[in-house]
Symmetry: C2
């Protein structure tokens, strides 16, 4: 698959997340998807995303950098949001926070994500909460 095709698929995946269009998630995520080594499967992956939007009602995925080299995609995502309660074990409680996620994806031959290796900058969130004097 050409790199440009994989980039287009990835951007449609991100659009799908931002629409919370969970019935379309199977177009982008494999049945046997693993996330940071955990065999979540499509249903577990969907549940993880549903819970993310419950914790962060104004959650939006914004691509800051996209690096494609099939079958791999690397994306730096940027979040600017107001989690309602706890996030990453931190009492955010409706404060606005900004943070990055640097994430690698491996796609299968059908163009679906089968492996995700994600690191979220939780330290940045902790620093913002500390600055706000909430902790």
């Amino acid at each position: 698959m050409p790199s440009s095709d994989l980039a287009a698929i990835y951007r449609r995946y991100i659009d799908c997340l931002n629409r919370q269009d969970w019935d379309e998630l199977h177009r982008y995520v494999a049945d046997d998807v693993r996330h940071n080594g955990r065999p979540l499967g499509l249903s577990g992956y969907r549940q993880m995303l549903v819970e993310d939007f419950r914790a962060i009602p104004d959650l939006a995925f914004r691509i800051e950098h996209l690096v494609c080299d099939p079958p791999m995609v690397a994306s730096r995502l940027w979040f600017d949001c107001t989690p309602v309660g706890m996030l990453f074990g931190l009492a955010v409680n409706g404060r606005r926070v900004q943070f990055a996620e640097n994430v690698f994806y491996e796609f299968n031959d059908a163009g679906r994500i089968r492996n995700v290796w994600s690191v979220i900058d939780t330290a940045a969130v902790a620093a913002q909460i500390a600055d706000a004097g909430l902790n």
Copy 2:
């Protein structure tokens, strides 16, 4: 620059770090390099690396995933090491810890790194220290 050339340059950069060959660092890192938005410059970047090896004498950079799409490189690095004292604000104190860094690089036209956007999985280190009953 072809993707394969940039991948080769990046692998030589990682070899340079693992040799702690700081006099060669300028071959891979631009004078005006920025790290997570901070204008470190080559000397500040070198100092950061020297301090990393002081904190972690057995530090070794191992590439787990490499995604090249010039002028960008994304790399998932894996660390298995024994920091002597504090690391990321955590009292590691000689325990063995394992963690990932997901990092994006932008190269300039001369094939040198001019921007780095890094996220380190500090939460994984915190969890390993907590499991060890040291905190």
